[in-house]
């Protein structure tokens, strides 16, 4: 038995009704919500490919603070469940994860280390992160060591003038469904890179709400040999003069699927918004797929918003150019793949993490 979950049943209407319909039935088979268009949630992805045995080895990075359970405190997200800050959008995973599990609060300013690592395999709870200071801090979110399927909400609140650099490593042989919510107060600044490779089945939702004079750089690096890798973003400009920049790059081969669906929403009072979204995919063979769906919803009249989207194969003329200089085809293709993705790694500020991420990418080409 399956039930189609309709938009009007989403959380803000009637949470108990929604919960009953969603949780008691398997909604996935006829899951007809536009935002989940390509997510293929009903499919159980079984593959005959040899799985990527990657484990994040962060030992090369010095002075990382690994967040432990004792660094957290309880927080009740359930009572806030009816509050929904995002216009005409919905997240099944937000509701589902908050109903299903308890939540922990982490204050990032309490750690003196510059790099803080949140390993999701160490937590069963949803995570609520706070950052109030403007001191430089890099948050690593690692869901590469998961031993079981994972559906979580990760909520980030940045106070006025706060700054944060985030790198998310998503390379997992377990299913992982993450809801990221980013709430930025005035003058706050986030650079976020999600590094995704060879996931059995993953969906990341990025919901961001920006107040005045904020900046958000949201980058996605995808390189996949198998699996379904689904990214959804909803960037909401609620006050004037904020800037958002999204760049999602994907390379797929051997039957992998990559999806990007993203909306920039500009409220009627959010004049002088500067929004940019670029999603580009490279398909290396005939078995793989890429779906890109950019969306704009703009209610202010003095804004700059642009988006672009491409899906293409490798440019054979470029490969020929390399070969004409004596570089063999295999190496040429590797270099061209890296060249395609490398822009996203510029979101990382810490040089050690940047180097680690470059070598991680090299190992996957």
């Amino acid at each position: 038995m399956s039930t189609a979950v309709k938009l009007d049943m989403m959380p803000s209407k009637d949470i108990s009704d929604y919960a009953e319909k969603v949780l008691l039935n398997n909604p996935f088979e006829n899951f007809k919500i536009e935002n989940y268009k390509y997510a293929q949630l009903h499919k159980s992805i079984t593959s005959n490919v040899s799985l990527d045995e990657f484990k994040a080895d962060l030992s090369s990075i010095s002075s990382v603070k690994n967040i432990k359970l004792s660094d957290t405190s309880d927080i009740d997200l359930l009572s806030d469940l009816n509050k929904w800050n995002f216009n005409n959008a919905d997240s099944y995973f937000r509701v589902n994860s908050i109903l299903e599990r308890s939540s922990k609060k982490i204050d990032l300013d309490l750690f003196r280390e510059e790099i803080v690592c949140l390993d999701l395999s160490l937590f069963k709870e949803n995570i609520h992160l706070l950052k109030a200071s403007d001191s430089p801090k890099t948050l690593m979110i690692n869901n590469s060591n998961l031993s079981e399927d994972c559906a979580r909400s990760i909520i980030l609140n940045l106070s006025e003038n706060a700054k944060l650099n985030i790198i998310h490593y998503n390379i997992s042989n377990s299913k992982s469904f993450l809801y990221f919510e980013i709430n930025q107060q005035n003058n706050s600044n986030i650079k976020f890179l999600s590094f995704q490779s060879n996931n059995i089945h993953t969906r990341n939702e990025f919901f961001a709400s920006l107040e005045e004079n904020c900046s958000l750089d949201l980058y996605g690096l995808n390189i996949h040999n198998y699996g379904v890798n689904d990214n959804y973003s909803f960037i909401q400009h609620m006050k004037p003069s904020s800037q958002s920049r999204e760049v999602f790059k994907s390379i797929v081969k051997s039957g992998a699927i990559t999806n990007f669906q993203g909306k920039i929403y500009v409220d009627s009072i959010a004049q002088k918004t500067d929004g940019y979204q670029m999603s580009r995919s490279l398909i290396l063979d005939n078995e793989s797929k890429a779906n890109n769906k950019p969306e704009l919803e703009i209610y202010a009249d003095d804004v700059k918003c642009s988006h672009g989207s491409t899906v293409s194969k490798l440019n054979q003329d470029q490969v020929y150019y390399f070969k004409s200089r004596g570089i063999d085809e295999e190496q040429a293709i590797k270099i061209l793949q890296k060249a395609f993705l490398v822009e996203t790694l510029e979101a990382i500020e810490n040089t050690q993490i940047k180097e680690y991420s470059y070598s991680l990418l090299d190992s996957r080409l």
Binding site: N315, Q316, D317, R325, G326, I327, I335, A339, E343
Partner: protein, 248 residues
């Protein structure tokens, strides 16, 4: 060094080269001149091994080997170089990285170790300076936002560091102003020796004032219709292609 015999080439069923023969010996510079659509660029692509060209008939021998048996990168490592009329833009690949990769591919082919960083820096600096290529340009993505002249200089820089035995220049003079033409020509002349050969493809005699050819060939409708020395280029400039082709 290079021996083309009775070459017939077609693209998507349309015959472009129709029985072309040409021999280039070690140390010689040959100019190939001809009107648009006569098959000049097709010949350069066929020699470098680009896909999409069907060799219907004929042979190409390079240093005693059958050139058509070799892959594009194998031809390059065997000493064949094509300076492109329209060099590809490669976003995301820094020019100096590309040059280093190309040098190391050749060294690997020759069984040599990779070039060390200092040696590479020295080599590039001296060659680039001669061509008026600044270090800033070497940091930029390969050919991206280069002017027409910068792209051609970049091709000649690649040629200078790879030191090919047989270089084909495909309309290297197109899009160059007088100064750039002189600089590029000097780059070519510097490489000229008894050991290596050139095939200079051009529309105009102008380039040949700088790079003096030993032989001049006129190509029309896919075959060489007249061969001679430098005076043929001068005659061509005076009379135009149509007259020359008629008298051939």
């Amino acid at each position: 060094m290079l021996k083309i015999n009775n070459l017939h080439v077609s693209i998507e069923g349309k015959q472009i080269i129709k029985g072309l023969s040409l021999s280039i010996n070690k140390g010689e510079v040959h100019a190939l001149m001809g009107p648009n659509g006569s098959g000049k660029s097709t010949l350069s692509y066929v020699l470098s091994g680009k896909e999409g060209y069907e060799i219907e008939e004929g042979t190409i021998e390079y240093n005693g080997k059958n050139l058509l048996d070799l892959e594009v990168d194998e031809r390059a490592n065997a000493g064949l170089f094509l300076a492109f009329q329209y060099p590809m833009e490669i976003p995301g690949v820094q020019t100096s990285f590309f040059l280093k990769t190309a040098i190391n591919s050749k060294r690997k082919f020759l069984g040599m170790p990779e070039i060390d960083a200092l040696e590479f820096a020295k080599l590039i600096k001296s060659q680039a300076e001669d061509l008026g290529i600044g270090s800033e340009m070497l940091k930029r993505d390969l050919n991206v936002n280069y002017s027409g002249g910068e792209k051609k200089k970049q091709e000649i820089l690649q040629m200078s560091i790879l030191k090919p035995d047989m270089a084909i220049l495909d309309e290297t003079d197109s899009g160059l102003d007088i100064d750039a033409l002189r600089i590029v020509s000097e780059g070519v002349n510097k490489l000229r020796s008894e050991q290596n050969s050139f095939l200079v493809i051009t529309h105009y005699q102008r380039l040949l004032n700088y790079i003096k050819p030993d032989f001049v060939h006129i190509i029309a409708d896919g075959r060489i219709v007249k061969s001679g020395d430098f005076s043929l280029a001068l005659e061509l400039e005076e009379k135009g292609y149509e007259d020359i082709s008629k008298t051939a």
